[in-house]
């Protein structure tokens, strides 16, 4: 993948990936850090195509699925390490991302109903919230979700149906 191709891929997906991560971790700074790491990994992998790397290195056939897989793993790692220590910007710097020269004032304002929905998504099982966000918020097809989760499309459809029911129950319970 060339720089131009990656830039285009980045522009197409940055909002989606950030949104996916933000809805799962509920903190803008953390979402930004994890998003940065996901795209950095993706670029490292994509740009090194053809250069001998680690044994498990293979060319990225589906960059979108790859970046979501990385993001998903980052979230899992984040929750695993959450009780140990917070993710620091120094660690991010060590991984190749420099600290921003100026601070970005990131703010996301949601209506009361949206905030409720976001919290409900965080309360249900991650497997359900993931597919809901991917399909209904990020507009990924069941085929793309199947590639991310390494499952067949039927399984994804069943999962989506069940996830939606669970989310509906969760929202009704609170209302």
């Amino acid at each position: 993948m060339t720089e131009q191709e990656f830039s285009q891929f980045y522009k197409n997906n940055i909002n989606k990936v950030f949104r996916f991560i933000y809805l799962r971790v509920d903190k803008i700074e953390i979402a930004e850090d994890l998003t940065a790491q996901a795209f950095l990994k993706c670029w490292q992998k994509a740009s090194l195509r053809g250069v001998p790397q680690k044994r498990d290195d293979v060319a990225i056939s589906n960059p979108t699925a790859f970046v979501y897989q990385v993001a998903r793993n980052q979230i899992i790692d984040f929750y695993r390490q959450k009780n140990k220590k917070p993710l620091s910007l120094e660690e991010l710097k060590e991984k190749g991302i420099d600290l921003p020269q100026k601070s970005f004032i990131s703010q996301i304002e949601l209506s009361f109903e949206m905030e409720n929905l976001k919290k409900a998504l965080q309360r249900i099982k991650p497997a359900y919230s993931e597919v809901i966000i991917w399909h209904y918020v990020d507009d990924l097809s069941t085929k793309e979700i199947a590639q991310i989760l390494d499952k067949n499309e039927n399984n994804v459809r069943v999962l989506l149906h069940r996830a939606l029911e669970i989310l509906k129950k969760e929202l009704n319970k609170k209302v």
Binding site: Y10, R19, Q53, S106, E113, M114, I132
Partner: protein, 297 residues
């Protein structure tokens, strides 16, 4: 809430977007900074990787291994020291081992062990000829050992044992004398050693003669001892009355047995019992022995 309403709300979540300045910064940052990291990683990946055998498991057994290594070192040092000669770095270890053998030997056999070790030291000394200072020092030590032997023989309590051990020491002393004669030591050293050995032999021989005489003259000698003991107990009846009943009974039994042994000619048994009575008297802090406290008839 209906499914339609839910889907509408989910659709509204699309409004969530990152700060666009941050997003632009991130893209430029990834493209610029990752290139150096990528280049170094690519360079590293082309180098052949050699996986060394891991010895990390050793850390788990660190204490045990250190202890084992020390034990092995200790044993091997002692083993090597046994073949060393005077002047060698390990010879002091050998001397230390020999001294320990003497110190740990049973009291009655100490003179024999000392004589055997003296012989071994003489053998070592005979193997070196060019170290005068070492030879002089060893010669002094050997002489000291020889001088200590007669006193150690006198310290043996049982007469028969004294006689047996003295005879063994005398045999060893003869061997030692022959060994000294065969050595290539300087005449001065040789003479000094021969003189000390002969002195020791003479003292041991005197001890053998005295002890043999004591044993051979058993009846008359023991009769005197028995008479002295009986006299002592009669004269000091008030002191003896303060002893425990068991001890008084034991003394009476010993005295009766001694009398019977003398009559039966079992002089060695009689002597042992007299010495047992003496030990009881010593326990009661009666330092003055019967022989000296009472006039010899």
């Amino acid at each position: 809430m209906t499914e339609k309403e839910l889907l509408e709300q989910l659709n509204e979540l699309k409004s969530i977007k990152p700060n666009q300045n941050w997003a632009s910064w991130l893209l430029s940052n990834i493209l610029s900074q990752s290139s150096s990291v990528i280049a170094s990683e690519a360079k590293q990946s082309q180098k052949p990787k050699i996986h060394l055998v891991s010895f990390s498991f050793l850390h788990h057994y660190q204490k045990a291994l250190v202890s084992a290594a020390l034990v092995v070192l200790f044993i091997s040092t002692f083993a090597l020291a046994q073949t060393s000669l005077p002047g060698n770095l390990l010879y002091p270890v050998k001397t230390l081992t020999q001294n320990a053998k003497i110190a740990l030997a049973p009291k009655d056999y100490k003179p024999v062990v000392r004589m055997q070790i003296t012989k071994a030291r003489l053998e070592d000394m005979a193997k070196i000829t060019d170290q005068e200072q070492v030879i002089a020092l060893m010669s002094q030590n050997i002489q000291k050992d020889l001088e200590a032997i007669p006193q150690e023989l006198k310290n043996i309590q049982k007469k028969q044992k004294t006689l047996d051990i003295s005879k063994q020491v005398q045999t060893e002393a003869k061997d030692l004398n022959n060994m000294i004669a065969r050595t290539q030591l300087q005449s001065q050293d040789k003479e000094a050693l021969e003189k000390t050995t002969q002195d020791t032999q003479a003292q041991v021989l005197a001890l053998i003669i005295d002890t043999t005489e004591e044993i051979n003259q058993c009846p008359g000698f023991l009769q005197d001892k028995l008479a002295n003991l009986q006299k002592y107990f009669t004269e000091n009846i008030q002191i003896v009355a303060q002893w425990s009943p068991d001890e008084i009974t034991q003394i009476r039994t010993f005295l009766a047995d001694i009398s019977n042994d003398i009559k039966a000619g079992n002089c060695l048994e009689a002597m042992e019992k007299i010495e047992s009575i003496n030990q009881i008297l010593q326990i009661h802090s009666l330092d003055i022995k019967v022989e000296t406290s009472t006039p010899t008839p």
